[in-house]
């Protein structure tokens, strides 16, 4: 693996983050206003970057099939819409989702490694990863061991991610840092670097089970880590903010941040995703509003 042959940085000395600078930058991004054609393009781009997600303990096969149908038919009244990037489910729903999405370009993503806590042994995590991939998952969302991270055992965290990456085979690996539990931006920056050097294809903010989930601030810290990693190694890593992004305006602010930090090359579903469930309908309502000039109601959009 490329990461293994290069000299690894000492993660104890990851760069520190200027917290006030981050807040100031975000304040300027959120004051921006995107309108008209640019807004429609941004809304469509955000739709194409969606990982439509259902991660409830009460999920049924029926619910997952319904969500997959929604992924393929976002709003049939509008003919020129993109489809979402992926449907994200629990491991035992992978085969259901795979079957429901057959013949479409929508990918199946599965959480694994004892999501959302990750509190189990490595062999079980690897076994779970291999199983979801063999059942057809194109992408695997793993969680890092936050306890080991706080204990300062960065090597363990690194090795675990590397082992899961190996177990993924061809499947893409997204590494969830669970930034809501990492306490400081410095920790987020450090965890981002560990994940990327260990082979992550994407780094992801949150499981959605812990508050705060994704924020613009924490996303900026991670995007800057991705940029610096790219300058160091030449490898492009993707970014996925997840949890708490429920309206179109906020989604567009994330895209502005992405464009200004990483640039055009990252503005595709291959390198940026939103993990969300209710965001899809708000994006659709905004697109219809832009086309008709009339404010929309959730009553006229399918729930999933």
């Amino acid at each position: 693996m490329a990461a293994a042959t290069q000299t690894l940085p000492d993660f104890r000395y990851s760069p520190v983050v200027d917290q006030v600078g981050v807040a100031d930058r975000i304040a300027r991004v959120t004051a921006r206003s995107i309108k008209k054609e640019s807004k429609i393009e941004a809304l469509k781009l955000a739709l194409s970057m969606l990982d439509l997600t259902t991660l409830d303990a009460k999920d049924t096969a029926g619910k997952v099939r319904q969500l997959c149908y929604k992924a393929r038919h976002l709003h049939d009244d509008l003919p020129d819409l993109p489809t979402v990037a992926a449907v994200c489910v629990y491991p035992n729903m992978v085969s259901v989702a795979k079957k429901a999405l057959e013949g479409s370009t929508v990918k199946v993503a599965s959480v694994a490694t004892a999501f959302p806590t990750g509190m189990t042994s490595l062999d079980i995590k690897l076994e779970e990863t291999r199983r979801v991939v063999s059942e057809g998952a194109d992408e695997v969302d793993m969680v890092i061991s936050r306890g080991r991270f706080f204990a300062g055992d960065y090597n363990y965290v690194f090795d675990e991610i590397a082992a899961v990456k190996e177990a993924c085979g061809q499947a893409h690996l997204k590494v969830i840092l669970e930034t809501g539990e990492l306490e400081t931006y410095d920790n987020v920056r450090r965890a981002s670097e560990i994940a990327m050097y260990a082979g992550a294809d994407f780094i992801k903010t949150s499981t959605g089970k812990v508050k705060p989930a994704a924020t613009l601030e924490v996303t900026l810290v991670m995007l800057e880590a991705i940029r610096d990693y790219y300058y160091q190694t030449g490898r492009m890593v993707g970014m996925k903010p997840a949890g708490g992004i429920s309206n179109a305006k906020l989604a567009i602010q994330y895209l502005v941040l992405l464009k200004e930090t990483l640039g055009e090359a990252w503005m595709t579903p291959q390198y940026f995703r939103f993990g969300a469930s209710s965001l899809a309908n708000d994006l659709l309502m905004q697109i219809v509003k832009q086309k008709t000039g009339i404010y929309q109601s959730i009553d006229y959009f399918s729930k999933d």
Partner: protein, 310 residues
């Protein structure tokens, strides 16, 4: 203390009090900023626009926020969010809250009277209007736990069913308050809508907009949940289209639309089959402006078929 210093001290005290008297004459009055009322908060319009409200004699009274379609959109979101909670309150509790509004209005009578006078009403009219507004709130507070009984029915049916019908709130109601009677007109349009469990977004009178925002301050302290009532000041000509076309609005209540305006509202309302109600009230002090049928204007009848005797 020497005598000389004592005199000096007295002199300086006198100087201070003289300066204070002088300052009193020159004191800058603290004027109220009239903003919008959306989701329980008082934001300025997002558009940053305002217009100068003048007395009939042409003196500027206030800069009034000129709400935009986006303010309306935000208000509808707030009203939709508040609807389920407000509708789920017991009828008794909604009655208490309306009564509370009347109590608060009673306590601030003088302010409302002088504000109406400032906006061009004469003194006697203003007193009569504020009194009627208080009584109107009490009137509808009383109906809160009664209208459902009066307008419900148990229906005879041929099959083995217990069949009954009862009124339920429609949802979010857009209210265009009348141009005349800035306070009484507003209260008479809002009270029957909210007593039935609807939430509302109200466009206040253009001629007398100040009373509506002062009334909003009163609601804010009367246990009305944030978002159940939202008030915008602005131009009817500009906002009417959005009030009637928004897909998340279930009904439009007005009372003095001209036929061209009414036609515009009716044709925009078709998109989601909003109910359009133009009350045509001539005398805001009479019973035509105060009766339980007005509550029913924004209610839906729900009929339930309950199997029995199986």
């Amino acid at each position: 203390m020497s005598k000389a210093r004592k005199i000096a001290k007295n002199d300086s005290l006198e100087l201070i009090s003289a300066a204070q008297n002088k300052a009193e004459d020159k004191r800058l009055e603290v004027l109220k900023t009239y903003k919008l009322y959306i989701g329980g908060a008082f934001p300025r319009t997002e558009s940053g626009r305002y217009w100068k409200l003048k007395t009939p004699a042409g003196k500027v009274i206030a800069n009034v926020s000129r709400a935009s379609r986006k303010d309306f959109r935000n208000a509808v979101v707030a009203a939709r969010r508040a609807f389920s909670g407000w509708a789920a309150k017991t009828a008794y509790n909604r009655g208490q809250i309306l009564y509370r509004m009347a109590e608060m209005l009673e306590g601030r009578r003088e302010q409302f009277i002088s504000e109406l006078v400032l906006q061009g009403s004469n003194e006697n009219e203003a007193v009569r209007e504020v009194n009627a507004a208080i009584d109107r709130l009490v009137y509808y507070a009383g109906w809160a736990d009664k209208y459902q009984q009066v307008f419900s029915a148990v229906n005879p049916v041929q099959s083995s069913h217990f069949n009954f019908s009862l009124p339920e709130p429609m949802g979010v109601v857009a209210v265009i308050a009348p141009e005349s009677h800035g306070l009484l007109g507003l209260v008479s349009c809002i009270a029957p809508v909210i007593v039935g469990g609807n939430s509302c977004v109200v466009l206040s009178s253009e001629k007398q907009p100040l009373s509506s925002i002062t009334f909003a301050e009163l609601m804010e302290s009367s246990d009305v949940p944030a978002g159940a009532i939202n008030i915008l000041t602005g131009f009817r000509e500009e906002l009417l289209e959005h009030f009637s076309s928004h897909m998340d609005v279930n009904a439009v209540v007005s009372s003095d639309l001209e036929s061209a305006e009414l036609k515009e509202v009716q044709s925009s309302a078709v998109s989601n089959l909003k109910r359009v109600i133009n009350l045509k009230i001539k005398d805001w002090f009479s019973d035509e402006a105060q009766n339980p049928y007005l509550i029913m204007e924004t209610q839906e009848i729900k009929t339930t078929w309950h199997p029995i005797g199986l």
